[in-house]
Each structure stands twice: as C-alpha cells, then as structure tokens.
Amino acid sequence: MAGGVNNAPRSIVTTETRPVRIVLTGIALAFIGLFLVVPLVSVFIEAFRQGWHLYLAALVEPDALSAIKLTLITAAIAVPLNLVFGLSAAWAIAKFEFRGKSMLITLIDLPFAVSPVVAGLIYVLLFGAQGWWGPWLADHDIKIIFAVPGIVLATVFVTFPFVARELIPLMEAQGSDEEQAAMVLGATGWQMFWRVTLPNIKWGLLYGVILANARAMGEFGAVSVVSGHVRGETNTIPLHVEILYNEYNFVAAFACASLLALLALVTLALKSWVEWRTERLAAEDRRHATEE
C-alpha cells in the first residue's frame, strides 16, 4: 500500500531465458484476465442485458437513489475526517519524536488487520440498545446504530489508515529540514504548513484520499452490521446491490454494481494520473539537481 507513489526508476537486468519470461508473463496475464477482467466485464454485460431503459430505471428508482445519496453523504463525511486525522497523525509521526510513537503507528493499521464485520460489531457493542452506552443514548433519543451516524462511524473506522499510511513514509523520507529552514526564516506554523509541507505532500495526500474514498463508497461488511437494512433509509449502494440480488432482480443489482465498478475504474484512472504526475515531478527535480 505504502510507497506506491515514489517508484524510483531502475534499470532492468534480467537473466531469465525467453521461454521463462513468456511463461511467467502468460501466467500473470491469464490470472488478471480470469480474476479481474472477466468479472468486471460481466458486471456491465449483466447490467445492460435487457437494454438501456431497464438499466436507467434501476438507477433512478427511489430506493436506489436513496442508496446513492446515503453513499455520497457517508463518503463526504468520512473522507474529510480521515484527511484531517491522516494529516495530523502523519505530521506528528514523521516530524516529531515522542513516547508511544511506534504504538500509534501500529494502532493506525488496526482497521486493516481487523475484519470489517468485527469493526461493525464493535459499534453495536458500544452503541447498540444492549451496548455500553445504549441505555443512555435511548434515554436521550439519540440514534447511532441502524441510522446514518452508525454507518458513517463504521466507514470512518475502515478507511482510517489510508491517508496516514500514504503520508507517513513520504513525510519521513522528506525529513524536517525544509520546515526547520522555514522556522529559521521566521514563518509561522500555518505559513510553514501551507507553503512548505503541503506542497511537498499534496500528491501523496491526494492518492490517500482517492483510496479512502473508494473504500468508503464500497464498504460492505462493517456497514452491513450497523445498517439495519431499512429500504430507502439505511441502505448504501453495496447493501442495495445485495438486496436486489436476493430479490432475483439481477438487472437492477448489476446496474447498481456497475456504478461501483465505474467508481473503481475512475479511482484507478485518477490513481495512475497521480502516480504519473509524481513521477514526472520527481524526474524534473532530479534534472534540476543535476543541472545545478
């Protein structure tokens, strides 16, 4: 996951013979074809099997619209939260030395290590009617589980590491020399952040945000546990897809699934573009360095 942004160019030295190379490449391509391309294509074929009209009808149906809306709202809350957290955590970890730092790094990775279903259950245990804070919440008529706040919480949890994980290696590699220089020249904290730190990390940051967003919109397991599956109320797109599929409504299920697949494709395109940008910038930097 980490380090995807700075791929240093390296010269290719291989000693394998031609047949070995062909076989290895063939296996890799066959694998990708079988496990990635064919399923992806089949989603779109199934979605359009009975024509454009049914495809569109499945997407503008009220329950589908409400699922799309809820998914967008969830991502719109979860991603900025992760952005702020990821930035502060990466900043603290990369630029400062403090006790418990390695502990913090490990904790950030926790959502990757824990199954999403467990993540959902944690929130049920905390906020559910039988949970720790359930009675208090019920007394004050605050709904968290089986309502939008619960879905947002679960999504924040599973997307927690993306931004921080992207930024920590990047900021550690850059060190704090430039920030120190800015301080010496009399910059305030904000000036230093906006003029020095942010320009240095913006592509890594964008990359993390793209990944976090993709996961936020696509999350199934954790959200499924806390959603309650009320049609038109607490279903996100992935949950809506499951319901449609269980209702034998395959065209509509695949139509909504194709939205998620499209999102994945857009994410990939954006990601490649960001990678290409960073690489080009890095190349330019190296050229400047050699010219000087």
């Binding site: 619209l65 009617a129 039988q130 019920a138 049609r231 034998y248 395959f250």
Partner: protein, 333 residues
C-alpha cells in the same frame, strides 16, 4: 445518462422523504419480501379509508435470527414478522422490547398463516426424488440454508428428523443417523433461505432444494415454471409464521394503534387472500376453500412434538446442541 445525472443531483440536494402521517418499520425475514410488497399497499388503503390517516411501511429483510438480533440491538421496528417464535422470544428475553405474552395478543398463537417444508427438484425429477428418504441417497446433493442462522434451515432439520422418528421402528438414534445422512449430502450451507434458492436456481448447484412452500411459488414467478418441480413429501412440518408488535418502540413513537391495526388486518379476508396468493396457507376457512387447489393436503406434525420452539432450540440448535454434533461428525469423515 443525460436523464440520470440531473436525477442524481436532484436526489442529493432536494430529496427529503415525503412525510407521511404514520411510518411503520416492519422487520421481517428473507422470503417474506414478496408477501409484504403485496400486503402493504392493501393495508395502507384500508387504513386510509378507515382512519383517514396515511401510513407508510418501511421494510427490512434478512435471515430471521439476524433480524431479531438487530431489533435487540436497537433497530426500531414497530412490528416484527418472523418465521418462528424463538426469534420473537429472543427479543422478549434479551432485549425486552416486546412484552411476554405476545402470542396471546392475536389469534392462532399470533401466526396469521403457515407454510411447510417441500422438496424442489429439477425439471423431470432426474434423480427420482419422492420423499425425505431420497435425500440420503449417495450422489444426491441437497441445498438447505444453515440451521444455525436460518429458521428455514431449522424447519428442514426438524422435518427430516420427524420423518425418520415417525417411521415404523423409528427412534431418536435412527432419526439422528438419518439427519446426519441428509446433511452429509449438503454441499453449500447458505446463511438464509433466499441465498439457498439463489444457489439452487441461479448457480445451478444441487439436485433438490428444501424450503418453504411459498418460496417455491416465488421461484416459479422469477424463474418461470418450466425449470423445476415441487415434490410434496409424505409428511412435513407445520411452520407457523408469527408476528408481534414491538411494545417498547410503538409506545415511544406513539404508533401502537397503527402497528396493531397493521398486524390485525393480516387476519382479515383481504389479508388472508393476499397470503393465499403468495402461497402462504391461510387461516380463514372461506379463503382456504377458495384456494384449496394450490394447497395439497399433507400430513403435518407441529413444533409442539419437539416440546415447542424454546425446548427444541436449546436441544437441537444452541451451541453444542445436536445440530452442532451432527455437523462435527460430518466434518470428521
């Protein structure tokens, strides 16, 4: 696409749900979707005419025990409509959202209709499946949802058990061997009844699907009548499908009147008619007579022969119970 984008934008910025006078949430199990899709508008019309109030019904579906768990954990259901009383009893015991004695609030132990387990086989019945004893034959693949997570699966387990125990010379030990034989032939254990149907019909796995009679009709509607046949076994289990008002929620929301009317109307001739149309066996004698042709007479035994659901659940399906022992003995082979 041109139509889609404005519609999406509209939904994001403008769509506040139309506010009805009363909104009820019906938390139900998987295969009841189709029935309530038909019943809800019929009830809403009746309610509007009688009380001049508009009522909107929201639905939530999933495996029955999972749904009960959600209500216990705080999903604010006004009514629950389940496929066995243990799921409602669990809400009484663990969540206390429903008051004890719920089964006395409506007729027929609060079960407005019933179903039974039938065998669904592929067109032409290539494996010649006629009764429960054909399910243990070598080479027959049986599709059943998991009895741990699904009432549908539990009914199947007990139906097979009851069949074997009632054979001449049958006893508990023989029944246990028989059920072990059936589950040995199960290649996939889905979590719920609907998932099992999808496995059988869509993924084309298995020779026989054991499920509720009304689910067979849903398969016919969705996949056409040409692809499968329904086999009525010599004896089956009577599956009463109970309903209850969630007292704590309706008292808090002030929806008791509408929630009780919603369930009571299930026993009306109109409600019973919708049930029969969805192949749920009605209680109303007139409706039952009208639809007699679609409900062949089958010898049935009830859950009371197992001591009621509370006893049966504990003995057969709780952790370490007979089902777990059977599953463990199959896994060992």
């Amino acid at each position: 696409m041109r139509k889609l984008i404005p519609a999406l934008l509209l939904s994001v910025f403008a769509a506040a749900p139309a506010l009805a006078d009363v909104t009820l949430l019906n938390v139900s199990y998987d295969v009841m979707r189709d029935f309530y899709k038909d019943y809800n508008p019929v009830f809403a019309k009746h309610y509007q005419a009688k009380f001049n109030d508009k009522v909107t019904i929201q639905q939530s579906h999933g495996g029955s025990s999972k749904q009960a768990r959600s209500v216990i954990d705080g999903l604010e259901a006004d009514v629950v409509t389940m496929n066995q009383s243990t799921d409602i009893d669990a809400i009484v015991d663990k969540g206390r959202q429903i008051n004890a004695g719920w089964e006395k609030k409506f007729p027929n132990e609060a079960a407005p209709f019933s179903s039974l387990q039938v065998l669904i086989v592929r067109k032409g019945n290539p494996k010649g499946i006629k009764d429960w004893n054909d399910l243990v034959k070598p080479g027959v693949q049986v599709i059943v949802p998991n009895p741990k997570t699904s009432g549908n699966g539990r009914y199947t387990f007990l139906a097979a058990w009851g069949y074997a125990a009632k054979l001449p010379g049958g006893n508990d030990a023989k029944a246990r061997d028989f059920v072990t034989g059936v589950f040995k032939n199960v290649p996939v254990l889905d979590a719920g009844g609907r998932a099992a149907t999808t496995t059988f019909m869509q993924r084309n796995i298995g020779d026989v699907l054991v499920t509720f009679e009304n689910e067979a009709e849903m398969i016919a509607r969705e996949f056409g009548r040409g692809g499968f046949e329904v086999v009525y076994p010599s004896i089956s289990i009577d599956a009463d499908l109970p309903v209850a008002v969630v007292d704590k929620v309706v008292d808090k929301k002030g929806t008791r009147k509408a929630a009780e009317a919603y369930l009571q109307y299930l026993w009306s001739p109109e409600g019973q008619e919708v049930a029969a149309q969805n192949y749920l066996r009605p209680r109303d004698k007139a409706v039952a007579a009208k639809y007699a042709k679609q409900f062949p007479a089958v010898k049935l035994f009830g859950i009371d022969e197992f001591g009621g659901w509370k006893v049966a659940q504990k003995k057969y399906f709780d952790d370490g119970g007979i089902y777990d022992q059977v599953a463990a003995s199959i896994a060992k082979r």
